[in-house]
């Protein structure tokens, strides 16, 4: 039986169309049909100048964890134009990006629970509540709850809000309460036998297949691929901090959930280290931006590809310049795009509910898939 799952389906997390062929209730074939949320993001970036105008747009790609996207653009533009970033700004970037990662993973956990539990599940609301706490902190820091536009070429736009002590206290409160909140999630979902029955051993993708599909981020790490750009291609302040890359060998939906939840712990570890550093930073060395010319015109025909570890995986940007102040070609390598297509391998022979669960565990953001 041919079944259209989506484009308007409660479990597609946006507008995704899965062309599914069913055998009874088992999935014989599934093909994601994308493009419903295509917003010409690459073209828009090609029509805007490097210096200021592109920066608001990365926030709109992966709209659950926005700041890593900004860093992807900041990194590529800074390498293209040889811009130095002050160390203090790097710490601010690292901290805010880890907050954004927590945001993204919280929503991923919540929506995954929603897919497995059904509507009105408590887990989703608790996840949103914790996400909201992060948003409050980021609102104090960046001035917006979602579309932060916090990064600038050569630094960030704002130092920590005054009074700093209050902000540190707020962050520390959050970090201190986080283990308790995570414990609650473990009580609610991961230790729940029915949940384990639903997720362990379903949506399996082994490491080799995952690599062939180009999966990155939590999806790859849940298949045992030890790959994290924060460690393998260090940027920002990550190589100075003490943290671990989380991997799981389960290859299934459950492992992907566990990776996300453990990554939240790692992010919290990174944030608390960043806060300690920021607190002790000498007052007269708090440079948040380096000196960047008002107009940036990189040499013609320079090509740069730089990637950062977004919440969903390797988020890369390729830019080719043509000597003007706007990129000649702007290409986004989005992790969700590759992760989504591994659904084909995951859902083969599974039941429809597991197809939905696998889709939820991939945590695709259609804004990033279609761009």
């Amino acid at each position: 039986m041919f079944l259209n799952i989506g484009p308007h389906h409660p479990a597609t997390h946006g507008v995704l169309h899965l062309k599914t062929v069913l055998d009874g209730e088992q999935v014989a074939d599934v093909e994601p049909d994308i493009g419903y949320l295509h917003r010409c993001e690459e073209q828009m970036c090609q029509n805007n100048n490097y210096r200021h105008q592109i920066m608001p747009y990365p926030d709109r790609w992966d709209y659950t964890a926005n700041l890593p996207n900004e860093w992807a653009y900041a990194r590529v533009a800074e390498d293209l134009n040889d811009i130095e970033v002050p160390e203090y700004a790097q710490i601010l970037r690292t901290m805010s990006v880890e907050f954004a990662r927590i945001m993204g993973h919280m929503l991923a956990v919540g929506t995954f629970a929603l897919d497995v539990y059904g509507d009105f599940t408590a887990t989703f609301m608790y996840a949103i509540r914790d996400r909201e706490l992060v948003q409050n902190i980021l609102e104090d820091l960046t001035g917006q709850r979602m579309m932060f536009n916090y990064f600038r070429l050569g630094g960030v736009v704002w130092d920590l809000p005054e009074p700093r002590e209050e902000f540190f206290e707020k962050v520390r409160d959050f970090i201190d309460d986080l283990p308790e909140a995570l414990e609650e999630y473990h009580d609610l979902i991961t230790t729940n036998e029915i949940f384990q029955k639903r997720t362990i051993g379903t949506g399996v993708i082994d490491a080799e297949t995952a690599k062939q599909y180009g999966c990155t981020g939590p999806v790859a790490r849940a298949s045992g691929i030890d790959y994290d750009l924060r460690r393998d291609d260090p940027y920002g302040y990550y190589d100075e901090l003490d943290w671990d890359v989380v991997t799981e060998d389960g290859c299934d939906n459950f492992a992907r959930l566990l990776v996300r939840m453990r990554e939240v712990e790692e992010s919290a570890k990174l944030i608390s280290q960043c806060v300690d550093l920021l607190e002790d930073w000498p007052e007269d060395e708090r440079d948040i931006q380096s000196n960047v010319p008002r107009t940036l015109k990189p040499d013609a025909d320079t090509e740069v590809y730089r990637a950062v570890e977004g919440a969903k995986g390797e988020l890369g940007i390729y830019v080719r310049s043509d000597g003007t102040d706007k990129p000649a070609r702007f290409k986004i390598r989005s992790p969700c795009f590759n992760n989504l297509h591994s659904l084909e391998a995951m859902a083969q022979g599974e039941y429809v509910p597991d197809l939905i669960a696998a889709l939820g565990s991939l945590d695709v953001i259609l804004g990033e898939v279609d761009r």
Partner: protein
């Protein structure tokens, strides 16, 4: 344990009405019919009012409590008037009938679902309110009748699923059938283990059998409710009942995130309201069966017997609360796992329970 002495036959509701209307003595057939009709009208309205509250208001409030939200509180005191607003909203919507729908079946399905649940209430002893016994009929086969009436709903779901001309609905309908067959049997087998104690299928007899004190702890007398006499059967029954009414973790026929509310997908406006009501009526009917069979019917402390309808209501609301609670915390099982639990787990356990109870009853009584 001996059988509790049956109380003097309680006067049923239609008879009470007939006496009030026409005095005592022999009644013509139309008088009896009118009284029965009025009685059914009263009981039906009580249940509909209850679901009317439960559907739009209590469900929101309860779900909100579990998820740290506030829920409706603006329209009327504590948001109670949201019921009116919801009724206007739902009834005011356009009734969209999909092209290619199988007309008589499509139209009848919601009626079947809602009415089958109402039918079940006919034999439920709901206790007394100001001395008036709210029970419509008390046939010998009461318990069997309730289960028979409740399972007609499956027919309605299958009709809806088939007639909607929608693949999701069809899947929902098929799932509903598979689930109901798998869980109806353990449900009835578990109830049968209670019947072994009571020696009767008559609802009033089952209630009467639970009136004796079981034992006394620290001055508190525990009545011989079958939930205390046979807790294992009680747990089995509650779980099977969750599947029977299609609530988490067994809401696979609906499964909004998988098959988009299954058989309901194509229903709107009045038909949707009927489905919605039917669903809640079903939960309450399940609660009423649990209350009658396992929780001593309308019996309860503190209140005089003439008001024990209040206890009955409390009990079925407790079951409703439990379904909502399970919904907030328990994931939905997959359809194959559901069938597996049903046939391999629940059926075996309920059979074991039945045999064990039979042995115990045979040896001890």
């Amino acid at each position: 344990m001996s059988l509790a002495p049956l109380q003097a036959d309680p006067v049923l509701l239609p008879e009470t009405i007939a006496r009030a209307l026409f005095g005592g003595g022999d009644l013509a057939i139309w008088q009896e019919a009118l009284a029965a009709f009025l009685g059914a009208f009263v009981v039906g309205n009580i249940m509909l009012a209850m679901t009317g509250v439960a559907g739009p208001w209590a469900k929101r409030k309860i779900t909100a409590a579990f998820t740290d939200r506030i829920a409706v509180n603006r329209v009327g005191p504590a948001g109670l008037l949201i019921i009116v607003a919801d009724a206007v909203r739902l009834l005011g919507k356009e009734l969209i009938i999909p092209e290619g729908a199988d007309r008589p079946a499509y139209d009848l399905a919601p009626l079947v679902v809602a009415s089958s649940a109402l039918l079940g209430f006919a034999v439920i002893p709901m206790g007394q309110i100001f001395g008036v016994n709210l029970m419509l009929a008390d046939p010998e086969i009461g318990l069997a009748f309730v289960f028979a009436a409740a399972s007609i709903a499956t027919l309605g779901l299958a009709m809806a699923g088939y007639a909607s001309n929608n693949k999701y609905s069809l899947m929902g309908g098929l799932r509903a059938i598979a689930q109901n067959i798998a869980y109806e049997i353990p449900l009835i087998l578990t109830a049968a283990s209670v019947v072994l104690f009571t020696d009767t299928l008559q609802m009033s007899g089952i209630v009467a059998a639970q009136q004796e004190p079981l034992f006394t702890v620290a001055g508190i007398t525990i009545p011989s409710w079958f939930a205390f006499v046979n807790p294992f059967a009680f747990v089995l029954f509650v779980v099977a009942n969750l599947a029977e009414v299609g609530r988490n973790p067994f809401d696979v026929p609906e499964a909004p995130t998988e098959i988009i509310a299954g058989y309901q997908t194509e229903y709107s406006s009045v038909y949707f309201v009927l489905f919605y009501l039917g669903e809640f009526l079903h939960i309450f009917l399940g609660g009423a069966i649990i209350a009658t069979v396992f929780l001593g019917g309308p019996a309860g402390p503190f209140l005089p017997e003439s008001l024990n309808f209040v206890w009955f209501v409390i009990k079925i609301w407790a079951v409703f609360l439990f379904t909502q609670w399970a919904r907030s915390a328990v994931p939905r099982v997959r359809i194959d796992q559901l069938i597996e639990i049903g046939w391999k787990g629940m059926l075996v356990m309920s059979l074991a329970n039945l045999v064990l109870t039979a042995v115990i009853v045979g040896v001890m009584l």
